[in-house]
Symmetry: C2
Subunit: 392 residues, 2 copies
């Protein structure tokens, strides 16, 4: 019997409790012993609920209980969660988390503490929710040199773009409906501005390329600049528009950024619809692998958090490790070559220079491979309304 603790009893924390309880027999069979959730840390009052005896409000109870081998952090943010996770690691407990902000901002420090203390710091649920991606990257693809990782890592924006394409809705309408359906938060900034995707690509980049990428070094564009006309033009040209987070090895450095991209509709990634997530990993031996599933939600996220907990208590887990990056490690995306989609006024010179598709007032074209800097030169005389990369 292994005893664990849960920090935070909100949506994800509730899911972790549920998964550990409902799948108790499966879990015992899979890891060879039972796992007991001894404590739930929360500041709310759970008197009269089934959790009454598990709930504690003081982290030091968990910190000082030698029976506790691992804890799942489901508080969120990088303030209290950071403090508690650090204390538990220093106390020699393994910690697992679904908190991408914590991992992106404080992961370098926390994994170093875990290594020093001989415990685990695991975060499978921080990218792609329930989709197995972190462990496959660090274990199954360990014999590869990873050259690139990219994908759809934010379900809210994927849902909004899908609604814009399928129903011709404009961005504001699609966002409002996403909020009404519970797919977007009241303050949607972190999603629609790409901040959430930025944290996730930092984590993926840390793991794939071994050096720390901090969120502020990643150029981040959200989807507020995508119009219904863009999604319609893209479809006409044989593409879908997706918010892509991407990190690509460039010499000794990494180009990491977040931006809307066009993807050929024949590619699997273009067909990832609704709130689903998918990540493509490009290795020098395996080629392209794609991992697809629910990128958020109570039970899918809890599935990954619980798997990390089981791995942590098994004593077999290997924490991902990465190091500080040298100056200039993150290379500006402006220097990356790609084909481009460009939209401009119908009356502009775009139609004279390139093969275009047209609407009543606008036109759009695919520009052959060039860097962002070169693109500015090519389109110098044209007032560009949208310019998105095409990902191959």
């Amino acid at each position: 019997m292994k005893k664990v603790a849960l920090l935070g009893f909100g949506t994800v924390g509730g899911g972790v409790e549920e998964v550990l309880r409902v799948n108790r027999d499966e879990i015992a069979k899979n890891i060879g012993e039972e796992v007991e959730l001894k404590y739930i840390l929360d500041i709310r009052d759970f008197t009269g609920t089934p959790f009454e005896k598990q709930v504690v409000s003081d982290i030091s109870i968990i910190e000082n209980d030698p029976e506790i081998v691992a804890a799942a952090e489901c508080i969120g943010g990088a303030t209290i969660a950071y403090d508690f996770v650090k204390r538990l690691l220093l106390a020699g407990k393994s910690v697992v988390t679904s908190n991408k902000e914590l991992v992106a901002v404080k992961g370098l420090e926390l994994q170093a503490i875990a290594r020093e203390k001989g415990v685990c710091f695991l975060f499978e649920a921080s990218v792609g929710g329930g989709i197995p991606i972190i462990r496959p990257l660090t274990n199954d693809l360990a014999a590869n040199r990873i050259d690139e990782v990219f994908g759809i890592v934010n379900g809210t924006t994927n849902y909004i773009l899908f609604q814009m394409l399928q129903c011709g809705k404009d961005f504001d309408t699609a966002l409002r409906e996403a909020q009404q359906n519970g797919y977007a938060e009241a303050d949607p900034t972190a999603d629609i501005e790409g901040i959430d995707a930025c944290r996730k690509i930092c984590i993926l980049s840390d793991l794939c390329f071994g050096k720390n990428v901090s969120p502020e070094s990643v150029r981040t564009r959200g989807i507020t600049c995508v119009t219904a006309q863009d999604t319609a033009f893209a479809e006409k040209l044989g593409y879908a528009i997706k918010l892509i987070a991407r990190a690509k090895r460039v010499g000794e450095g990494v180009s990491a950024y977040v931006a809307p991209h066009l993807i050929s509709s024949e590619k699997l990634l273009a067909n990832v619809s609704g709130v689903m997530n998918a990540v493509v990993v490009r290795g020098n031996a395996v080629g392209d692998c794609l991992f697809y599933g629910a990128g958020a939600g109570k039970l899918p996220t809890a599935s990954a958090v619980a798997a990390d907990l089981l791995d942590a208590v098994s004593g077999r887990a290997k924490s991902p490790e990465w190091t500080e990056a040298p100056e200039g490690y993150v290379i500006p995306s402006e220097t990356l070559s790609s084909r481009w989609y460009v939209r401009a006024a119908k009356s502009s010179a775009l139609g004279e220079k390139f093969d275009c598709v047209f609407s009543e007032n606008e036109c759009a074209a695919i520009i052959p491979e060039c860097t962002e800097t070169e693109l500015s030169g090519i389109l110098a005389s044209i007032e560009v309304r949208s310019a998105f990369r095409i990902i191959e």
Copy 2:
């Protein structure tokens, strides 16, 4: 420095040697020490090649060398490979393999020997080539009750079906071209009759549901019964035809079978083209996850074999475990309900009973959910030319 051996120096074996050599630095960084390929077992003469000093022709050299901690079996088949793998496991060496026949037929015995000897028996490459699927199933999804696993696990048949759909080719033409392009073997029986897919679903079922499924208990239909008219009708109805290997939990048993299926073209699986593979895992917490990538080929397969080797030498790996199944564990697929696609002569009663699409001489319809037995009753008066399940 960890020392390993390679059994068999054909395509996959050559790939494993190449991956270990080319990615030596990445591997050392990832697992914290170097891995040396000390022996290559092959009966051919490699005098004058760079492998001269590594090649041995006697398994007992590897068996009796205490420096060797793990070996990769790349011989194929379940005769010599079985003998050698068993000897090495009994000698206390971990063994990894890409050999699906060996795992499907002898896996139950071999994993039990590995457990008894405290070593590993790993086979990530046996299903889906380079795609991480075995380890995610046994680790990342360990907190789930898996309810179903299905997918496209044979690239040759997927390539042939894709050619039939895209180019309207008939089966024989598509097969011949696949052979000319190196995507089908001179004797294509194991692929086109579903035997290869059958072995793979046995392995997936063993892992997902914990009890042994032997290939002869799995009803297996290949793709020789699929006509160009079927792929054309399917497309008209909004579906693709794919050879699907499937195992589904039914009460205390499992229904496992291989057959062509229709899949809605909106689903990701319908868009898996060419020789690529994809496996869907349905868990009670995570929902549907999909794993996609190259299901065969020298380097993708070697990527998975090498990852298993690294895991085996790390001492952290957990071998998948499963047990003998009770009588009646595999439940006949006839009792599984689904919607169906049916093709018949235009002059048949199919058109009177159901909404049909038509060609010059034939028609096809989608039949509402029923079992195979019920379907026979519903279509009793009709001479059915094709009947395929629809997978949801």
